[in-house]
Amino acid sequence: MVTVVHENLESTEAKMSARDVSVFYGDKKAIDNVSIDIPTEYVTAFIGPSGCGKSTFLRSLNRMNDTIPSARVEGEITLDGEDIYSPKLDVVQLRARVGMVFQKPNPFPKSIYENVAYGPKIHGFAEGKDELDAIVEKSLRRAGLWEEVKERLQDSGTALSGGQQQRLCIARAIAVDPEVILMDEPCSALDPIATAKIEELIDELNGRYAIVIVTHSMQQAARVSQRTAFFHLGKMVEYGRTSDIFTNPIEQRTQDYITGRYG
């Protein structure tokens, strides 16, 4: 079965692109021959039923799968034309360029300030305390959290509410000034109000960073993304403009999924 890629996509320059990517866990093939271009200007959403491999594929974009000993990636994934699985590429540098936000908010059990300052500190981005303070403030502002926490930067990051914690994690990712931000179901552990705030935030960050979001919620994909890829059973079934995918899907399986027949 071949992936259907809509033809009306403008030929934008791809920030990241995957060519014939397959991911294995041991002998099990979790992702089968996926090819996709991820543009800078848009938010790209990966949708699909549970276990379809969308998170696996996302995690192979910044080599987080390296932490799983049995995982193996075939094919080519490039960032600005550079093969990210090439032995010459430094994985630490890659992850600084391709940030990630996880399903469950995972702030470090340190102060709010330390959480945001950690990345810039280990990469030596800031000369002295003032610069670091500035980065922390800028990142928290961009994550829309500054007003809520500016009085208590020394409080523990884990003392915040779930939604605030997730925005703190986004601030933490932004602080190292990445080029791409990967979000793995960032709202699945949050209530609707916190979800709305994260979605607003994604809208604001759109354009500044290439954003890829994995989501279970089709409404969310429709709200925040401009490009949508539908995954099913390890294959990418269809990729196109979000509006087209939701209104005029070409594939029957896409149609079935978005109308709620399965998933």
């Binding site: 910044n62 987080m64 932490t67 000993p69 630490v92 540098q93 890659l94 992850r95 600084a96 940030g99 990630m100 936000v101 996880f102 469950k104 995972n106 702030p107 470090f108 059990p109 340190k110 950690y118 990345g119 280990i122 990469h123 994690c169 933490r172 990712a173 602080a175 190292v176």
Partner: protein
């Protein structure tokens, strides 16, 4: 059909419910009983120990007035400062002077009623204040072992009578024995001290901690964070688990065969003792450390990796600080076990009569539990109380060590 009773309201169900409550109540009572029993036994143990031990911190002393103006002992302050004081005073006949005045004070055979080394107490007083040799001074000197047991109402009738009469004259009484905390082992229970064994234990524990903690933590970190999961790491894990369960005497044999072959001159030394105990403590720290490291949520590692931390940074900035409280708990358990251990130390010669506290890590020493064992083996009745006193010191040492570790653990937990 309305007659049908819901299954939860049938008599059978209610009877079963009653049975379940009864079982729960029985179980609770048994649990409570177990705790009450343990506490009672513990209190009894501590109570008898303390009652016995209080006597161990005291000793029977006799009053001996010494008139130095007749003795002709000179105490040159320059000599008194140095370690030659004892030698100088002994050469000048201080032991004989003390015996002479003991005869004077206690009547015939008076010299036999004070401990043979009692002159050392006098010498120490002179060294501390050379001015004493110019005047008359009353010293409380340790009673001889026979007189001391007579004072306790044991031993021969004559001794009991003598002790009673001396006590009536106010020349014999039990005083708190400060010197117990500065002396080492001796043959006379009146003159033993715990400091030698306590210092030996402290030195041994320092060596054990310095070896077992870093090696144990590094091994745990490597096995959990870096080592590939294959049959080699399985074998290593199995070996470590087995090592933790090996009887401690085997470690003593290992210490004897390996360490004492390499360092034959360090027999009985805290260095070798510490190395042997470190072998025993390390697997405990590795196992506790691995569990603590495993308990650090993977999401924290992911979070750190995703902002571009290198594996070493993930370990030292996130995993280790979070695992530290658990690692410290394991270390406390391991160290407490090492502190109370005698069997492995028997094999490397720490079961020795060591009459002076160890100077450093390589001088002969004994440790607290070994001292307790040695004293409890003595025939002289005076050692019974001393043994209890030594047990109290050991328990207090354990308490201080654990208290410190718990304090450190809480401090790290608060910070995170």
């Amino acid at each position: 059909m309305s007659e049908q009773i819901a299954p939860t309201r049938t008599p059978v169900f209610e009877a079963r419910l009653k049975k379940r409550y009864a079982a729960e109540k029985r179980f609770r009572t048994m649990g409570l009983g177990a705790i009450v029993f343990s506490i009672t036994v513990l209190l009894y143990l501590l109570g008898t120990m303390t009652l016995n031990g209080i006597g161990g911190f005291q000793r029977a002393e006799v009053a001996v007035p010494i008139d130095f103006t007749q003795a002709g002992i000179s105490a040159d302050p320059a000599v008194m400062d140095s370690s030659g004081a004892m030698q100088s005073l002994e050469d000048q006949g201080l032991p004989q002077v003390v015996q002479y005045f003991a005869d004077e004070a206690l009547g015939e055979e008076g010299a036999a009623q004070i401990g043979g080394q009692a002159w050392r107490d006098v010498a120490a007083a002179i060294a501390a204040d050379p001015g004493i040799v110019e005047r008359q001074e009353t010293f409380w000197l340790p009673a001889s072992a026979n007189l001391a047991s007579g004072y306790e109402g044991e031993g021969s009738q004559e001794m009991q009578a003598l002790a009673a009469s001396l006590a009536a004259e106010g020349k014999l009484e039990k005083n708190f024995d400060v010197g117990f905390f500065s002396r080492a082992d001796a043959t006379n229970p009146q003159q033993v001290g715990i400091w030698g064994a306590l210092k030996g234990s402290i030195l041994t524990m320092i060596v054990t901690l310095a070896l077992a903690f870093p090696i144990g933590v590094l091994a745990a970190l490597y096995l959990e964070e870096y080592a590939p999961k294959n049959k080699w790491t399985d074998v290593i894990e199995l070996s470590i688990n087995n090592l933790a369960a090996v009887p401690s005497i085997i470690f003593g044999l290992l210490g004897l065969a390996v360490f004492l072959t390499v360092f034959p001159n360090f027999r009985s030394a805290p260095l070798i003792g510490g190395m042997t105990l470190a072998l025993m403590t390390m697997p405990v720290i590795v196992i506790a450390g691995r569990n603590a490291i495993k308990a650090v949520p993977p999401s924290i590692r992911d979070g750190a990796l995703a902002v571009g931390a290198s594996p070493v940074q993930v370990v030292f900035h996130h995993v280790l600080p979070l695992a530290l409280p658990g690692i410290l708990t394991g270390t406390i358990i391991g160290m407490a076990r090492a502190l109370g251990e005698t069997a492995p130390l028997l094999m490397i010669g720490m079961r020795a009569f060591v009459a002076s506290p160890p100077d450093d890590f390589t001088s002969p020493a004994t440790v607290l539990p070994m001292q307790i064992f040695l004293w409890s083996d003595e025939i002289d009745r005076g050692f019974v109380e001393r043994t209890s006193a030594a047990i109290i010191v050991l328990l207090l040492f354990l308490l201080v060590m654990n208290g410190l570790a718990i304090y450190l653990r809480n401090k790290f937990e608060k910070k995170w």
